[in-house]
Each structure stands twice: as C-alpha cells, then as structure tokens.
C-alpha cells in the first residue's frame, strides 16, 4: 500500500465516530469495558495522527499537505476536502492528545457510561474535522456538529445548574455560527465563480467594504468561541457546570477553534479588513487579559475562577494575531497550544480535587495539602505553568507575543506603549489570583469542618500519569520552544508576509483616511538600528 495516497486525515476524522457506533453493542452494564474500548480507540486515532505527521508532513512546506478531496454533493458543489498546514497541524495533534487523555480522565464516570463515551468519541471526530476540513460549508457543518455532543455532555453530566449552562452555551454558539454561515455564503457567491473551497476563497479579490462586513460577521462568531469580551459570559457557566473530562475538552480544544478560525478566515482570507480591525482586536485582547483576571480574582468558585483565567490567557492570542509580526503570530499559535495543555491540566486537577472535597467553594476548603501532597504538588506545578513561569510553555508564548507586538511597526508608539503596559499588568494579576487560590485550597492549618466528613485520599497513579503526560510537553516546550514552533514557522511567516502586503498597499492607497491608531508609513524612531 502506498502510504502517500492513504487518506490519513479522513481516516483519523471518521474512525472515532464509526467506532463509537459500535458502543451500544458492547455487552457491558457497569461501563468497565466500554471505557477501555473508548481509550483504545482514542489511542489508535492519536497514533494514526502521529504516524501521518511523522511520515507525511513536511515542516518546511508552508502549503497545504495531506490533502484529500472528494466530491460529495454534486448539486451543491459540496466537497469533502481535508488537509493540514502549519496552522492546523499542531492543533490536530493537540486534539488527539487532549481528547485521549480526557477519555482516561473520565474513568470515574458512572452515569450512563455508554452514552458518555459515545459522545466523547463523536466529539473527537467533530473537533478533528473543524481543524482539518478545507471547505467552507463543511467547516460550518463540523462546527455545528461538534456542538451537539458538548450540549449533551453538559446537560446530562453537568452540575446543579447544568441545563441553564447548556442552553446558554448552545444559544451563544449557535447564534454565533449563524454569522459564519452568512459570511461563508456571501464569500462563496462573491465574484464570478461560486466555490466553497477555502484556498479558492483565499485567492478571490474582495472589495474592502465586503471584507469589512464579512470580517465583522466572522469576528462575532469566533468571539463567542474564543471567547472575547463581552461575548464570554457563557463560558464561566458552561465551565462551572461541566465535569472534568468535558472541561478539559472545552478549555483544551474548543476555545482554540475560535483562535484557529480567526487566523484561518479573518487573517488569511480577509487581510485588508484585518488591517482595519487589528487595533480593535488588540484592545479587546487587553480587555480580556485585565478584565478576566480581575473577575477571576474575585470568584469564590474554583471552576469559575479557572474559567476566567482561560479568558484572560486568550487575550494574548488576540494581541499576537493583531501584531503583524512573525513573532507575534507565532506566539499566538504557541499560546493556543500551550493553553490547551495547561488549561486541560488545571481543569483536570480541579476535578480531582472536587472528587475528594465535594465542594468548589474556596471558603469551604483549606489546609488540604497535608492529606493530599501529590495533588498539591501537581496543582502547584500547573498553576505556575499557567502564570507563565519560565521553563514552561506559557512563558515562551507570552514573551513572543510581547516582543512581537513591541517590535511591530504597524502601530504608533503611544498605542504600543499603552497596550504593552496594560497587558503586562496581567503579569501581576495572574499570580495574585492563582497563588491566592493555591493558598486557600492547600495552605494553612487543616479545615476541620471539611476533614470531618470528607475522606481526602491522595492522587492515584492514573491521575499522576495524566498530569505527567501534560506537564512533559509543557516543560519541553518551555525549555525548547522550537519543538512546536518549527511545525508552523514557515506558515506563520507566509501569513505575515501577506499581511505586510495588505498593510503597505493600504498605506499607499489611503493616506487620507488612515485607520485608527494605525500609522503604517511611519517607521519607529530608531528603525535603522533594528536588525
């Protein structure tokens, strides 16, 4: 068999879903067999992805690879076309990795295990599909399909307010995706040819006004997903109610879809509009960082606290995307991968802690470090990773965004100074809420009220294993970021180059109506000295 022609991505996308269809026929009442089945399916799929990546993926190629395209619905010109490039490959691998770990993390689930694992595997397919498909209509379908398992997972296995949270989630995201459909159709019918193929759409020349409108529509949809202030309020509710494995997927993968689509569609396909919208993205990014960090500090519910910390971290993705530099965009990508790992690890640990304390309210905890030293150690390590400690991945990503934005020549000096200063305030706020959280859970004398009615056992090997799996890449990237950056480096450079063109072209065209805060023509004062 010729491995080059083998449909790797299609196999990887469809395999979990097809395998999940067999779950009802597994003779298993207690859910002991089905969880092993799901785990093996997850592992095989991850192995397929890794194998395809090692043998078929060329990291020095900025173009689309592992391409497959089959005609699906002739009359609609709908094609099943998938592929991976630097933007999607790291996220596809991340999806396989986190989802498999999430299946391992759902070991304690006892309520309707068959349905649970069925949904988990269906989600596996949906998530991979979102990152891999190269057809606009298909993208929309995948985007919608992956909502259903999440909705059910939230609504059946969630906490007390699960129905409210699930409904809110579905309303927000489905409402947002309506905008994707509108914008996608508009782009497809624009000009002489009608096509849904992303590469063809990228090469179309759109008028500026059209670009601005579609950009805005996409932005609303992805702002819900990423999330961006003020469309973020579904997230603390959804995250606050979800069980740990679902939580890992929500934070680890689903948020990244917003960031990915923002780069894929808004930046790549509508570069001229991006020049206009970029300052808004930067401002929203700063708002995300500070606003969410402050809210997180005030939260007394552990899950909501971490949920807001996710929102805060996504602010750096926005600033990176809008930086117009290789380094900034690269940092945004890295922040997505890094937060995928760190967010998943933190949410998993929150779940493990909850399994023991049976409370999420910080005031009811305290001093549990004595009884659970391993969980304490792992929680500390992951919190330090989240507050961007050097030697861990979050630091590299944030520094890249900072340096990238600071050296960007697309913005005026004053704007850059204000943005960098405010974003750096996040550097102070993050340790405040994360370390306060650690202090309130683990430090201090034991809370007698808690220990009197809860049995606090330390982490079991399965939990240590999951955290070890997440911490190894976190530290690996922290020590040697090229591990990840080399996968997408050529791609982000290509994207930035295209943006530079739009930037200079617009600067020449529109000397009169210059966009807010943008001064494309004025180089920094000391430009000659910058290498």
């Amino acid at each position: 068999m010729n491995t080059t022609d083998f449909p790797w991505l299609t196999t990887a996308i469809l395999f979990p879903f097809l395998a999940s269809l067999l779950i009802p026929f597994i003779p298993d009442k207690e859910g002991k067999t089905v969880r092993w089945y799901a785990l093996v399916v997850g592992l095989i799929d991850f192995a397929i992805l890794v194998y395809a990546f090692y043998t078929q993926y060329d990291m020095s190629n900025p173009g689309l690879q592992l391409v497959e395209s089959y005609s699906w619905v002739e009359s609609l010109d709908l094609r099943w076309s998938v592929g991976a490039d630097g933007l999607s490959m790291p996220l596809i691998l991340l999806t396989g990795f986190i989802t498999t770990l999430a299946i391992l993390a759902s070991w304690p689930v006892t309520l309707k295990p068959k349905l649970f694992y069925f949904l988990m595997l269906a989600m596996y397919s949906g998530q991979l599909g979102v990152f891999a498909v190269q057809d606009m209509l298909l993208f929309f379908l995948m985007w919608e399909l992956e909502l259903i398992p999440v909705y059910l997972l939230l609504a059946i296995w969630g906490g007390k307010k699960r129905l409210y949270a699930a409904t809110k989630f579905i309303l927000y995201t489905a409402g947002g995706s309506l905008f994707i459909l509108v914008a996608a159709l508009a782009m497809a019918f624009y000009g002489d040819t009608v096509t849904f193929d992303m590469r063809a759409l990228m090469n179309k020349e759109y008028a500026l006004n059209f670009q601005l409108l579609t950009y805005g529509a996409f932005l609303i949809a992805y702002a819900v997903k990423l999330p961006i202030f003020p469309l973020h309020t579904w997230l603390p509710d959804a995250h606050g109610e979800a069980t740990a494995p679902v939580h890992m997927l929500l934070a680890g993968i689903l948020l990244k879809m917003g960031g990915y689509a923002l780069i894929r569609m808004n930046v790549e396909m509508l570069p001229d509009a991006h020049v206009y919208f970029a300052p808004i993205l930067v401002i929203l990014g700063v708002v995300n960082i500070i606003y969410a960090a402050l809210t997180s500090f005030a939260q007394r519910n552990l899950k909501r606290k971490i949920a807001y910390s996710s929102i805060s971290h996504m602010g750096f993705v926005l600033i990176g995307i809008a930086s117009f530099t290789d380094l900034g965009l690269s940092g945004a990508m890295l922040q997505m991968v890094s937060h995928g790992l760190i967010g998943a690890s933190l949410f998993f640990l929150v779940g493990s802690t909850y399994d023991r304390t049976h409370t999420l309210i910080l005031d009811e905890m305290g001093g549990v470090g004595k009884k659970m030293p391993k969980i304490f150690a792992m929680f500390t390590a992951c919190s330090l990773a989240s507050l961007a400690l050097p030697g861990m991945s979050g630091f590299v990503a944030e520094v890249m965004v900072f340096v990238g934005f600071a050296t960007s020549d697309a913005y005026s000096q004053l704007f850059k100074v204000i943005v960098v200063t405010l974003a750096a305030v996040g550097v102070i706020l993050t340790p405040i809420y994360l370390l306060s959280m650690l202090r309130e859970i683990f430090y201090g004398p034991e809370n007698k009220e808690l220990t009197s009615h809860e049995v606090l056992v330390d982490a079991e090997p399965r939990e240590v294993f999951i955290i070890a799996c997440l911490l190894i890449p976190i530290i690996g990237i922290g020590f040697y970021p090229k591990l990840i950056t080399q996968i997408y480096d050529v791609k982000t450079i290509a994207v930035t180059a295209k943006l530079e063109d739009s930037l200079t072209a617009l600067a020449e065209q529109q000397t009169r109506t210059r966009p807010l805060a943008l001064q494309p023509s004025s180089a920094p004062v000391v430009a000659p000295l910058i290498q």
């Binding site: 309020t233 530099t325 430090y443 970021p481 450079i493």
Partner: protein, 689 residues
C-alpha cells in the same frame, strides 16, 4: 583549559538533575524516597560539591587571564528573528559562581543538622538543589532575556521555600506576598527589557549599552526616555534586592526555614539584583539620571532598613532588615559608579551574612529545646540571653559576623564598606552622610542583637515573658483577621504541637550547642568573614583589578593609597561604629541606660521603627484591599451588566422570534429566508459601493 569551559554548563545542570531526580522520586515512590534521607542529602551535596569544584577551576582560569567564553544555541525563532540562550563565563560570572556554590554548599551541610527531625527533609533538599540550579543559571546568563528566565525561576524557588511549612498560616501568606511583590518588580523589568529591545534590537548587555549610548548621543532617543527604560529595568532589582518601596516581602520571608533565609534571603538571591545592575552597567552608565535614582534608592533603603532593625525583637527579622540595609549599600555603590566596591561588598556580605543567619538558626535550634517548636517563642530575643555559656561556637562565630558587618578592621565588612563610603563621598557628600549614619546605626542594632542573645542571663524559662509574647501574637492575628475572626483551631493546634514536642524530646531548662553539621559550616564561613576583605584593601586592590566595569581597562593592581583620605574615611566610619557599639553595650550589656525609657521619650519615632515605617499597613489598605474591592466590582459588572445585557439581547430576539413565528409558517423557512436575505444584502451592498 578549553574542555573546562565546554563543560561549564554542567554547573547549573548538575543540581537541576539532582532536584529533578529527587522530585520524581518523591512523586512516584514517596515512602521509599522519604526513608533514604541521608542518601538523598549526600547525593545532592556531592552534586553541588562537583559544581563548586568546577566553579573554583573556572575562577582560577579567569584569574590567570583566560578570555571570556560564551556559547549560544538558538532557542526560539520566527522569521528572521532569533532568540539565543546559552552561557557565558567571564570575571563577574566566575566570582558569582564561587560565591553561590560555596554558600550553598555550606548551607546544605548545615541543613542536615537543622532539618534533622523535619518530615520534609528530602523535599527540602530537592528545593535547595533546584534553587542552586536556578541561581547558577542566572549568573551564567549571556543575555537579558535569559536573566529574566532565571530571575523568575529563583523567585519561584523562593516561593516554594518560604511556604515550605505550608500548614503555617504566616508562611502561606508570606510566600504569596514574596512572589507577588517580586512580580511587581518583574513587571517593570519586563517592560524595560521590551523597551530596550525596541530601541536597540538586542538582548546582549554590551550591544544594548553601546547602541543606547549612540542613540542618546545622537539625540534619536530622548534622555528622558532612556532614563525611563533604565529605571523600568531597575524595578526588577528593586523587588529582588528588597529596595524601598518593594522591600516588604523580605522580612516576611523569614517564615521559611533558617537555612533558606541564609542562602536565598541573605547571601545569593537578594544579591541577584545587585548582580543585574552590574550586568546592566554598560547600559546604565549612559543614563546619569537613572544612576542617580539608583544611588538614592540604595541610600534610602540602607537607612530605612537600619532604623527598622533597631526595634525588632525577632532575631531573624532583625537580620532581615539588616540584609535590606546592606543591600542598600551595594545598590548605592552601583548608583554612584563604584562598580567594584558594590560587588566587593556583595561578596563579603554574602559570607558574613550567611554565617550570621546560620548562627541565628543555631540559636533557634538551641532555644527550641527549651521553649518548643514555636517560632514566636524560639526566635524572640526577649527570651534569650546568656547563650554564650551554652553555645560557645555559635557565639564566637556570631560575634565575628557582627564585627564584620559593623565594619571593624580587619574584618571583611570594613574594607568593602569603607570603599563604598569613600566612593560615595567623592560622588555626593549627602549620600555619604546617610551611609555614614547608617553605619553607626548598624553597629548599634547588631550589638544590641549580640548582647541580648549571648550576654547577660538566660531568660528562656521566664513564664511571664512567654505569656506576654503569646498574647501579643494572638492580638496580632486578631488584628490581621479582623475582630471575631480568630481561628480557634490554631490554638488547639499549637497546643497539640506542644504536646507532641513534650512527648518526643522533653524540654530541658537550658539550651545546648548545635551538632557538628551545623557548627562546621559556621566555622568554615567565619574564615572568609575574617580574611576575604584582604583581597580588596586600598593598599593592593586585587579585587578591583579582577572585577571592573566592562568599559574600563585597569593595568596592574591599583594600590595608590592616599593616606589622608583613607584615614579620615576609615576613621570616621570606624568611629561612628564604635559610638554605636558603646551605646548598645550601655543599654543592653551593662544596662546603665534603660532602653524602655528612651523609647518612651521618642515615642513617635519608636513606633515608626517598630511598625516598620508603616509600609505594610499602607500597602494593606491601598493595594491588597484596593485590588480586592476592584476585583469584586468588576465581577459584579460582569455578572449583572455584561451577562445581563447579552442575555437581554438574546431574550429580545427570542420574543421577537416568537412573535414572528405566528406571522410566518414554519421556522426553517424563516431562518433560510433571513440567511438568504442577509447574503443578498451583503453582496448587493458591496457591489454598489
């Protein structure tokens, strides 16, 4: 000697490997690893010993004139942008390597005795090793970004170690305070690094300095901006080296075990700030206004630290304020351009302050035998006294350290402090005045400490003082927790701890000398505290010949002594120290003057010092409570306004949707219509314009 340099990376990596191995062992095989206590200790100490030997070899090679050596690898890249990491060995690095490894080595040996009964013995060694690794990584960093990386890592180690006894509330608060305060400094440092990179396009110290000089000279960069950049970078050292106004974390950091106070919060990590100023010297020297800020910050810190130390009763807190004050001297020296003098004081201070802290640990260890494992009692000097009889080695080494810090010749502190004061006088007599006055106060509080700890009669069995101290502690806690919030659990826990002690090793009525693993490091550190100053005497300043600013060239050994200047400078500082000592002996040794009466006479000043110049209280109201209030308000806004608004928008659409449902038949068609209409509108709109 090339292989030596090629393998210099082993110096930080060896302790890191040790720490990781122990850490993994603790996570995976907790019970077993915790049982091989001595084995783990020997393993960690020998790894650090190997790093120490390598450091000495490097220092030897550097003294013989080996050119600086740098090795880099590409760390991160994007487009034509490259970040490199690696290591560099030059004179400054070699000296710092030797200081860090020797102090860490002795502290680690000492730890064996001090932590002998602690259940976290192995974990403590793992942390110590991790810290040594980060600190060594910091001093070999070839560029500013890598300094920042390790800068944060030492901060993290300090966080872990201050919170080592995590079931103590005070420790939990202190470690968070330390980390957050340091992050405030790092905020400035990060901005400074970004700004300097933006201006000069480099993270390398020399290139940054050179280009910044050029930029300022040609006027491309205003001198105001350049000063701002430099001061932003300086904020990092302000926090790390406990300079006013970010010094508040250091005294609280004394909640950590004493070996840590000696290693991190006296000898090495806090000196990292001074080290960074030295590394950034090529940049700072082009910005005179920033140098002025640095000098004045140092002077103010030296003074505030010393005046606070006068009234402290906790022996470790007293030493902590003294550290802060001495760091102020070093920073002031850097600010007035006395590069060599500042680093010289860093070196001498590292040795004698480490010894003083280890000595205080030995005292606490001895006191615990009498009063039990309660920091409130074991560390309070009001319960000590007359310990010289029981702990002769500790007393003698502590006295040596005290003489060294007071600047009595020929002890180490005299030469370095004298050099700083001399250089400061030449630069700005007002600064010198502050430094000179501080020297007197230093002598006073250090001898106050020595006399009330080691001389007089032993007060450790006085039940009345103990009771008073306990009551004061409870009041303090009540105040900090708010009325009625006092946690009754703490009381019962203390009682339990006491019982536990009583059953294990009964309280004796007199303290005892510490075991050999603790006294040996004291003796070993006493030697450099006496003689190390001799490498930097004005008669033959070998130190200055070895350590000088990168831009300067020094031929031979500077030895021109102006006897007149040396005698007036040295004489006046020794004189003021002697006045301080005399006062202290009158008040605390012979008790001719009653300190309480004086305190009463100058009550406002006394209160100011006792309450640490009210920094903590102001910060509590301004920042701690302020940020909490702000956060709560933002959360309210999020909950009520943002969420409410979006929910309302959704509600309105739903209602209108419901209404429209009656007009249209079938939902699907309706949505299709809307989508179609919107698409049509978009295409038309863009086609028209």
């Amino acid at each position: 000697m090339e292989p030596l340099y090629e393998y210099a990376w082993l110096i930080p990596v060896l302790p890191l490997a040790g720490a990781m191995l122990l850490g993994l062992g603790l996570i995976s095989f907790n019970k077993t690893v915790n049982q091989i206590r001595k084995g783990s200790a020997v393993f960690i100490v020998s790894l650090l010993g190997a790093a120490m030997v390598l450091s000495f070899l490097l220092l030897g090679s550097q003294i013989q004139g080996h050119p600086p050596y740098t090795r880099l690898i590409e760390w991160a890249a994007a487009g034509d942008f490259h970040l490199t990491m690696g290591y560099t060995v030059d004179h400054l690095t070699a000296m710092m390597l030797v200081i860090v490894t020797t102090v860490a080595f002795f502290v680690m040996i000492y730890t064996d005795g001090y932590m002998a009964h602690d259940p976290g013995y192995v974990r403590f060694y793992a942390y110590l090793s991790l810290f040594s690794s980060s600190m060594l990584g910091l001093v070999v960093s070839p560029n500013l970004l890598q300094v920042y990386v390790f800068w944060e890592l030492v901060g993290m180690c300090s966080y872990l170690l201050i919170g080592f006894w995590y079931d103590r509330k005070a420790a939990a608060d202190a470690c968070q305070k330390a980390f957050v305060t340091n992050r405030v400094g790092d905020f400035g440092l990060l901005l400074g690094i970004l700004a300097l990179f933006w201006a000069t396009g480099s993270f390398e110290f020399d290139i940054m300095g050179e280009r910044l000089g050029e930029l300022v000279q040609t006027g491309a960069l205003g001198s105001g901006l350049a000063a701002l950049f430099a001061i932003l970078v300086f904020l990092g050292p302000v926090a790390k080296s406990a300079q006013v106004p970010l010094h508040v974390w250091l005294p609280d950091a004394m909640e950590g075990p004493t070996p840590i106070s000696a290693l991190i919060h006296a000898a090495t990590m806090v000196a990292a700030g001074v080290f960074l100023i030295a590394r950034m010297y090529p940049v700072f020297e082009h910005v005179p206004s920033a140098m002025n800020v640095i000098a004045w910050t140092g002077a103010v810190t030296a003074f505030i630290g010393a005046t606070t130390a006068i009234t402290q009763n906790d022996i470790k807190k007293g030493l902590a304020y003294s550290t802060m004050s001495q760091l102020g001297y070093m920073v002031m020296a850097m600010g007035v351009g006395a590069y060599g003098a500042g680093l010289f004081h860093l070196m001498t201070h590292a040795y004698f302050k480490a010894m003083l802290f280890l000595g205080s640990g030995s005292v606490i260890h001895g006191m615990e035998a009498v009063v039990g494992h309660d920091p409130t009692l074991a560390q309070d000097m009001r319960l000590m006294g007359g310990l010289r009889k029981y702990m002769p080695i500790t007393a003698i080494t502590f006295l040596i350290g005290t003489l060294a810090i007071c600047g009595i010749p020929p002890f180490a502190g005299f030469w370095s402090k004298d050099e700083i004061l001399g250089a400061t006088f030449a630069a700005n007599p007002a600064l010198w005045g502050i430094g000179w006055l501080t020297a007197g106060i230093t002598a006073f509080y250090m001898f106050r400490m020595y006399f009330s700890t080691f001389e007089g009669s032993f007060r450790g069995n006085d039940g009345e003082i103990k009771r008073q101290l306990k009551v004061a502690e409870l009041q303090r806690m009540g105040l900090s927790l708010g009325p009625g919030a006092m946690n009754p659990q703490e009381l019962t826990m203390d009682a339990e701890v006491d019982e536990h002690d009583a059953s294990n090793h009964h309280h004796s009525s007199s303290p005892h000398e510490s075991p050999i693993t603790m006294t040996l490091p004291l003796i070993a550190l006493a030697i450099p505290s006496i003689v190390i100053g001799l490498v930097g005497t004005p008669f033959a300043n070998y130190f200055e010949a070895f350590i000088h600013p990168p831009g300067e060239i020094i031929e031979g050994i500077p030895s021109e002594v102006e006897w007149g200047e040396f005698l007036t400078m040295g004489g006046s500082s020794v004189g003021v120290a002697l006045i301080g000592i005399t006062l202290a002996s009158l008040m605390y040794l012979s008790r001719k003057i009653d300190p309480a009466a004086i305190a009463k006479q100058i009550e406002p000043l006394y209160k100011l010092s006792l309450n640490k110049w009210y920094f903590d209280d102001v910060y509590e109201v301004l920042f701690v409570q302020g940020s909490r209030r702000l956060a709560r308000q933002v959360m309210e806004v999020d909950l009520r306004i943002v969420d409410g608004f979006v929910n309302l928008a959704g509600f309105v659409t739903l209602v209108t949707g419901e209404a429209l449902k009656y007009l249209e038949t079938g939902r699907a068609q309706f949505y299709a219509l809307i989508v179609f209409g919107a698409v049509l509108g978009l295409v038309l709109l863009s086609g028209v314009t």
